[in-house]
């Protein structure tokens, strides 16, 4: 009786987000995972998502250049921070206390996007993502503007990322296997702005050039003139 009550209390008071942490060896894209950490383009491939064939966008990696930064130029030294509101399916990008980008996203439907504070550890101009099974199987070449993030509890091997999505346009509603999907134009804007500063088609964070902080929040409370309150 005592152990039952104790167990019930422990479960009741357990941190809310711990139940959404991925299990050990989990990878958001169960097949492709993070096996290739250099930019990859497959212009002749046909994608596959939820039973539908998808023609991926044609990408020319040689045309990628060090981006012209259009966001945050008014206060370039202020710290950057990305907030993802899972309840509102909205992404907010702040530089200092200035909101510089707000847009709808699609977070995890077939696996939840785990709340927590992360940092971007690598940016890829394009990669291939595949996983799922049965009706849920998918294979998506040329996923653009990919920003992988991780922390001590959700390691890089779990393969969660922010990225553009060309196979659906249902933002504002969960649609992914754990990643944060964005419109391609929004992903490109965020990719060009987020740290580490883009140096090529593959850009890794270092101690000298750390990645931008990404907070995945159960909900976000905006505050005038300040960064929002993130409820994890």
């Amino acid at each position: 009786m005592v152990s039952f009550v104790t167990t019930a209390l422990l479960l009741y008071f357990a941190p809310a987000h711990s139940s959404s942490l991925p299990s050990e060896n989990f990878c958001a894209n169960s097949i492709s995972c993070i096996h290739n950490l250099t930019a990859q383009v497959d212009n002749n491939a046909v994608g596959y998502f939820y039973g539908q064939s998808i023609i991926p966008p044609q990408i020319d990696l040689s045309a990628f250049h060090t981006p012209y930064q259009v966001l945050g130029t008014s206060d370039p030294t202020a710290p950057k921070h990305i907030f993802v509101d899972l309840a509102g399916q909205t992404l907010y990008a702040f530089q200092g206390n200035n909101l510089i980008l707000q847009t709808l996203i699609s977070s995890g439907k077939w696996h939840p996007t785990p709340p927590g504070d992360y940092h971007i550890w690598v940016k890829l101009a394009s990669t291939r993502m595949s996983g799922g099974e049965g009706n849920d199987a998918y294979d998506l070449p040329n996923v653009p503007f990919v920003m992988f993030f991780s922390n001590d509890q959700v390691p890089a091997s779990a393969g969660f990322s922010l990225h553009g999505a060309y196979w659906h346009n249902n933002f504002g509603h969960p649609m992914s296997h754990g990643c944060v999907n964005m419109r391609q134009i929004d992903a490109e804007t965020l990719y060009d702005w987020a740290d580490p500063p883009t140096t090529g088609t593959t850009t890794r964070a270092t101690a000298q050039n750390p990645g931008t902080e990404v907070s995945i929040c159960t909900s976000v409370q905006l505050q005038a003139g300040a960064q929002p309150q993130c409820v994890e």
């Binding site: 998502f49 939820y50 539908q52 998808i54 023609i55 966008p57 709808l104 439907k109 060309y166 196979w167 659906h168 346009n169 249902n170 933002f171 504002g172 509603h173 649609m175 419109r183 391609q184 134009i185 490109e188």
Partner: protein
Amino acid sequence: MLPTLRSQFSFKLFTVLAVALGIGIAAAFFFYNLHHIKAPTKQSMPYLPSPTPTPSAAQPAEKSWPSPDGHNILIMHTQLSSNHTVTYVFAVKTPDQTTEQVIFRKTVPSTVTMTIPFNSWSPDDKHFFIQEHDGDRIRTLVFNASGAAFKDGQIFEDITDFFSKKNSKYTLGEVTGWASPIYVVVNARAADGSLASSFWFDISRQTFIPLATKFE
């Protein structure tokens, strides 16, 4: 009996005094309000967001919405007429084009509004949908971005109308976006308003595919 000189003088004096009093009261009222306009109270003003363009007969309003890849733009022109109707014109263009291709035009009562939702464009830029709001009723209309008619010869597909004809069990709730280049995500509501089921509307076949997953 003729009025005496004395009574005439009294009457004139009274009239002058009454007029002067009236002028004085009016002047006092005028300067009182003038002072308040120049020196408003120090209470805080409510935050007013930047106003959205208000259509007028002289200056039509315009809203532009890019496709998710930025390769195309859907434009909505709005013009209010003096007879309380609003004309909406929907056109498409690419960012480097100056000319627009008009796809659809409709004049509605001023109580009806038309909008471009966030997820208007299909992922392949070949289609888009707009919405017409009339009180609680929302119609969702799908168009070919080329302006071409659908296989039934119609310039648009009315998802709301199709759903009501093919599904008597539920009512159409929300049309949220595109699950693929040809599937529109549709949520159906039960009589109590709860989410009953989600469907994909296949724009090529004009059919609804029931889903095991709810896209809320």
